[in-house]
């Protein structure tokens, strides 16, 4: 019985962790797809989102509960929105910085400089204590899965990730806007030459990616504590997810996220001595056999 319990729990944990990773990675993929730049400040935006979400949700909760205690959950929602806003703003700053700087490496270095600064500023502003947001009761009720009680918030995270996935899929692959975005990724100049203000559009999508990352920070920060250093952990794992799945592929990110989530979860549960190697080992193994990740493919003829 305990082994059944452990297995189901581990499986569920893998899936919920994978769900959060997907939310994080999809923002990364979106931004990478647009700018062709490794956004190394991705983790920092996540962390900033978490911190801003924390402060906003605290403030609003205090304020709201003074008037209408029943609406305590509003604070958390406000926090998540604040996190999204913060993420979008940073994306805006980043885009302004990158503009006019040519080349992948210099642009990457810019994002790295920004990441370092944001991370340290967070430490400056919020101190080094580990923090978490308080999600509202409504989404925290334990639910029973396969007869096992399971934290409701984690189920909520799965729902959130599914929503993000579907929404992004519809946006990118089933809408006029999506076709233009993908065309712009392939060749910005030509899209502009057919009459589309691609720079404005890209800025918006870029900010959307930032917002998504910020929101992920608040959502993730509601059950995984965050502190200085979380930024680069998240960045590393997002990179792994995205690369396992194949860059620029939404489906790839989803599969990569679930794989990483499951490996992490089962690795820790069943091979704890090796858990340090499992993730990097998976990345190496996948890339050794599929140099473009699982779903990465080239649509350009050699």
């Amino acid at each position: 019985m305990p082994s059944y319990f452990q297995f189901v729990l581990t499986l569920m944990n893998g899936l919920t962790y994978g769900a959060l990773l997907f939310a994080i990675a999809s923002g990364f993929t979106l931004v990478f797809g647009l700018m062709r730049v490794l956004n190394l400040s991705h983790g920092a935006i996540y962390l900033l989102g978490a911190y801003v979400g924390y402060t906003v949700s605290r403030t609003v909760t205090d304020w709201v509960t003074a008037w209408l205690p029943a609406l305590g959950g509003v604070g958390w929602v406000a926090g998540v929105c604040g996190a999204g806003l913060a993420g979008a703003l940073i994306a805006l700053v980043l885009q302004r910085l990158i503009r006019g700087v040519d080349g992948e490496l210099p642009q990457t270095l810019l994002t790295l400089g920004l990441a370092i600064t944001i991370g340290d500023l967070c430490l400056w502003i919020w101190g080094g204590l580990p923090l978490t947001l308080e999600p509202p009761e409504a989404v925290s009720q334990a639910v029973r899965i396969a007869g096992i009680p399971y934290p409701g918030y984690r189920v909520f995270v799965i729902a959130f990730a599914l929503f993000i996935g579907v929404a992004l899929y519809l946006l990118l692959f089933r809408s006029q806007l999506g076709r233009i975005i993908r065309a712009g990724v392939d060749n910005r100049e030509m899209v502009a030459a057919t009459g589309v203000d691609i720079d404005r559009l890209f800025l918006k999508v870029f900010m959307l990616g930032g917002a998504l990352t910020g929101v992920s920070g608040a959502i993730g920060g509601s059950y995984l504590a965050f502190q200085p250093g979380t930024d680069f952990e998240i960045l590393t794992i997002a990179l792994f997810v995205v690369v396992i799945g194949g860059l620029g592929s939404l489906l790839g990110s989803a599969v990569g996220a679930v794989i990483v989530g499951l490996i992490d979860s089962f690795g820790r549960a069943y091979f704890s001595e090796l858990s340090m190697f499992l993730l990097s080992g998976t990345v190496i193994l996948v890339l050794a056999f599929r140099t473009q990740g699982l779903f990465g493919r080239s649509v350009e003829r050699g």
């Binding site: 992948e104 490496l105 210099p106 920004l114 944001i118």
Partner: protein, 363 residues
């Protein structure tokens, strides 16, 4: 019609070789003079800071070698550094072997590790290669951390004694500084020579268009692999110096900050230039040291990373290709001037003419 240019090609080769040689000799002489004179001028701490910067610079140079000339942005360089450092630590400190044995062994091990990593990694390219090396670095970190009986785990190997060279202990600041300058200069000149042979051009071709190189009959994978081993040797040399400098090696060598500093150094110097890596290493090391000191002294705060990060942003905005990286426009102007003067183009083999870092498309 274009006879002047045509006849100049052969001359140009002879000429760049001559000029190059002269420049090499000058560079070497200046470095040597600096090396010999500096202990008379500098304080112990300055020497130590410069040593540390040069060691970082060597790793950065090995990074630039791969990134600038091979288009392979590798985060694994600190693993090669660490490998050599651990071999010196374990062999010299734990097992008591003489430095004469451990040092070559250490560099060899770094090369072997680079070769092993290379076997797996050279097949991928671009960001996949980058992430692959990140994963390999983490593997190295994991082994250093987990294989406690050999590596000492989290604590690593501490108290490593530096050997004596010609009666001077490398544990002292000045002798170690001198040796570091010599090793760094020798590595630089060696690489510079190597990259001016057709090998250098071959690498750049592979960087820009591996498919086409294959279609021209080159062994692309072999060249990439060899470059990786070479970079491993350089990083390994740095590792030997580093472990004597610090007296300790721990899994942190493969940690985030160490790699971050290497990458920053290389990019600040400019990945398309080898000497950029060396200078970048010194600049970044000194910068971090100075900023953290000043932030404490002036503002009483330890948040120097905020400022360091901002400085990088500003530097990149103004020198996108690093301080020593010549960007495409400057290069074209240079070329024109060169053409006018000598009827020749840029023959500086030690500078990868990558307009945009390693990006193969320029438009």
């Amino acid at each position: 019609m274009h006879t002047e240019i045509r006849t100049s090609l052969n001359e140009r080769l002879a000429d760049t070789a001559r000029r190059g040689n002269r420049r090499d000799v000058t560079t070497a002489a200046v470095l040597m003079a600096l090396a010999v004179l500096y202990p008379l001028l500098g304080t112990t701490f300055q020497l130590q800071l410069l040593t540390s910067g040069l060691i970082t610079g060597m790793v950065a140079m090995s990074f630039s070698l791969l990134a600038g000339f091979g288009g392979m942005v590798s985060l694994a360089q600190m693993a090669f550094y660490g490998m050599a450092a651990y071999v010196v630590g374990i062999g010299g400190h734990d097992m008591g072997l003489p430095a004469l044995l451990t040092v070559p062994l250490a560099v060899l091990s770094a090369a072997v590790l680079a070769g092993l990593f290379g076997l797996i990694a050279v097949r991928s390219s671009g960001i996949y290669f980058l992430i692959m090396t990140l994963a390999l670095l983490q593997m190295f970190f994991g082994v250093a951390m987990q294989w406690q009986s050999v590596t000492g785990g989290y604590n690593g190997v501490a108290g490593i004694q530096a050997p004596e060279v010609a009666g001077f202990s490398l544990g002292d600041a000045a002798p170690l500084y001198l040796v570091t300058v010599i090793v760094a200069a020798a590595s630089y000149l060696g690489l510079r020579w190597l990259l001016r042979t057709p090998f250098g051009l071959t690498l750049q071709g592979i960087r820009d268009r591996p498919e086409r190189m294959r279609a021209l009959g080159f062994r692309v994978q072999l060249h990439r692999w060899l470059l990786m081993v070479l970079s491993g040797v350089i990083a390994g040399l740095a590792g030997v110096l580093g472990v004597y400098y610090h007296g300790v090696v721990s899994p942190d060598v493969a940690g985030l900050t160490a790699s971050l500093i290497v990458v920053l150094s290389a990019l600040v110097g400019g990945v398309s230039s080898l000497v950029g890596g060396l200078i970048g290493g010194i600049l970044v090391t000194v910068l971090i040291s100075v900023v953290s000191y000043l932030m404490q002294q002036w503002f009483g705060t330890s948040h120097y990373w905020t400022v360091v990060g901002l400085i990088f942003v500003v530097v990149v905005k103004n020198f996108p290709n690093g301080i020593f990286g010549v960007d495409a426009r400057t290069r074209r102007v240079l070329e024109r001037v060169l053409t006018r003067w000598t009827g020749a183009g840029s023959g500086d083999g030690a500078r990868a003419p990558a307009g945009n870092g390693t990006s193969p498309q320029t438009r």
